[in-house]
């Protein structure tokens, strides 16, 4: 592969792969969240619940091609998130919670932390290097998924 990345798990479409991301909070408008996942069979699921102005929950699903899964893997691999640990990241709090769960090759990470407002939150945390990787990876993944959902369904996902 062009990335020149790691070992056997780099085989296109090979090995196990699962990705899930959640961000949300409970507040004045109930439980508001955004969540998406890629399953190993290519199913991409997306849910977005905002109760603001009585919005209803959006639930979408579509099968993506092996190429799309491969691209998601590449983005994750290049981020090196699989080497990180969430031990010293801020705990989820009233403001919100993020979850990132990935199975790739023979590794499984299941991280959680608070919402991150900006890089200032990253810098002042106990693990700025790890949290920065998470911070940028999450944005890159959201960007990828929003484009896929937006192009396929012609809806504009809400940045949460």
């Amino acid at each position: 592969m062009a990335t020149g990345g790691g070992a056997g798990e780099d085989v296109p479409g090979g090995g196990e792969f699962y990705l899930r991301y959640y961000v949300g909070h409970k507040g004045k408008f109930g439980h508001e969240f955004l969540e998406f996942e890629f399953r190993p069979d290519g199913k991409l699921r997306y849910a977005n619940n905002s109760n603001y102005k009585n919005d209803t929950m959006i639930r979408k699903e579509v099968f993506v091609s092996p190429s799309v899964l491969r691209e998601a893997r590449r983005i994750i691999q290049e981020s090196e998130i699989m080497k990180e640990d969430d031990n010293n990241w801020p705990e989820p709090d009233r403001v919100g919670r993020q979850e990132l769960e990935i199975v790739m090759g023979n590794e499984h990470i299941s991280f959680t932390t608070s919402k991150i407002g900006s890089l200032v939150d990253v810098q002042t945390s106990k693990d700025p290097e790890g949290l920065r990787i998470f911070y940028y990876l999450v944005q890159d993944l959201k960007c990828f998924v929003f484009s896929l959902i937006n192009l396929h369904f012609k809806i504009k996902p809400i940045q949460s």
Partner: protein
Amino acid sequence: MAAAAEDVEFVDYDRDEEEEEDAMDEDDRGGGRGGRALPVPHIVSQGVMRSRGRLLGRSTSVLASNRDRFDSLADAGNPGHGPQRSIEGWILLVSGVKEDAEEDDLYNTFSDFGHVKDLHLNLGRRTGYAKGYALVEYESFEEAQTAIKAMNGTQLLTRTVYVDWAFSRGPIQKLTSTRPLHRRSRTPPRRLAALTC
């Protein structure tokens, strides 16, 4: 509404620290047991050797639900194989895009095969340069297919790009993937079965 039920399902984060330490110790000892905690239970992760994270075994996801209806454009009675049409056309994924590529480069190149209805060239949030992929929309199947045939594996700005359909009508068939099975001959059969179910 399902909202009430979800609230109950969600993990209480006000638990004390000690409980979390216990959970992590277990995962360290268990070597692959973290796989069980996945919201999608059929991903049997017997191959998972390392599990890490404070959330292991504690996540619940609305996406795991088989009860809730997820909207899809798929022809319900006819999943099958092959590319899936999107609501307004056909979407291609271009991968291997050079980081200093610009929208114009992609637009000009892919306009050779038909009218490019929409184009996303997303930027890496850290670098501000192209992340390495683009999504291209054509109106017709023929335009999109021509673009794949002409562009897949060719050079774009000195980098080899790969062009493929973004969406499929059905699940990926693991056993018929391009991956040569003999290279992983030590894989126990039960694991293969788990991957394809």
